[in-house]
Symmetry: C2
Subunit: 231 residues, 2 copies
Amino acid sequence: MRGEHDGRADRILDAAKELLLRWGYRRVTIDEIAKLAGVGKGTIYLHWRTREQLFFAVGAREAVAMLDAVAAAMRADPDEIMLHRYMRRFFLEAMDRPVLRALFTRDAETLDKFLSSPARKPLEGAKLIASRDYLRVLAGHGLLRAGLRPEDLDYSLPTIVFGFFAIEPLLPPDVTLGLEDKAGHLADTLRRTFEPERPSAREPAAAEVVEIFERLSRDFRDAAYGGKHGS
Amino acid sequence: MRGEHDGRADRILDAAKELLLRWGYRRVTIDEIAKLAGVGKGTIYLHWRTREQLFFAVGAREAVAMLDAVAAAMRADPDEIMLHRYMRRFFLEAMDRPVLRALFTRDAETLDKFLSSPARKPLEGAKLIASRDYLRVLAGHGLLRAGLRPEDLDYSLPTIVFGFFAIEPLLPPDVTLGLEDKAGHLADTLRRTFEPERPSAREPAAAEVVEIFERLSRDFRDAAYGGKHGS
DNA sequence: TGCGTGACCAAGGCGCTATATTGGTCATCA
DNA sequence: TGATGACCAATATAGCGCCTTGGTCACGCA
């Protein structure tokens, strides 16, 4: 059931994404997606079991693109693996991708019921924001505050990051602050709260961290295209 | 039009609050409130112009109670004026008051349309979380990080605090963390992000700060009982 | 004589039925 | 043997009276 990679799945995901952003989750029908993608309706169900799974795949593919950008940046500059640098990029990359922006800012207009749908679960939450593995590597290399254990971040880190995303739809329209500024404030908060004043060298940890994000990216890719086999 | 303080307004607000918490904003009718308060329906409109204003007053009165508790704590212990101590108490006091908890966690079940109603505006936002005046006093007495101006906090501070409230309804039911722990994490974040490592003495600023919160409390009290005259 | 009241009214909400839409299946076809 | 679209049950929507309810105000009681 896997293997036919003529890009048909991507054409379908492209169609679903475009219609999602144009009309919002509730108004997009499978028939429309099939027509726009140039396939029969049944074909969609050869790739994903349900409508929900299909839209989950749309999000997962965006996450893959973002994670790949993150990993590339880390390969180019090891400093980028620092928690505050990573989350800064995370924020910027996510806000630049309409689907992820809608997801993280909980845009009810676009996502509607999808916000509370079970298929979303693997996408949301701490898993994506910062895997336990990543934090363990940081801690192991002296890149987190002394005495701070990865599990200490389970609550604080996602909560702080969540705030910066969730506040977006509530900001008055006349805020002069740009995305870069906001990302900068987020990074500053995380650096002061979770990182040591004089961190160790980043290079020793870089390869390991990059590998973690590459694996995360593969996981999301598998989840997106292999949705047939459940989450 | 002001002056009859036989506690009638409070009886009405008590009734509105009880019904609000029991049934949610949408299901509570003015008739029910009047009956429970033991007054005629028209009497309610002698105090507030609209249903919205009445419910705003319910929230404002809760805010008054919270601000009074805050001011009392500051009077008892000047250390309490520190930003991280204040916000710790703010979080705990707000989460302990069902109406404020619903307001700050954006509990849609309870508040429904009231969440987006215009009458809410004076209640929400940075005004309540930390007035510019308060931050100016802190800065003036060396209780904020050097070089940090009050307006630098306009975005970061409410955003961080908002995150800790707004994450609440999204937390899995099995989180073992208690309110005190959460408040502690919030305080820790704010202290490390916004306060100096070795802050000056608090006493010199205490009286000024207390006065600011007392004034804020009075403003909310006026807004609650004098709703007839607009927000 | 002026505060408090509840009958009153327009406006919006709610339930009900009939109709249309649509997610998902599967017999059929190339 | 993979792709398709007619088909179906389930759900959403539109239409439409009826009922509820926010807000007013003429009246009467203290």
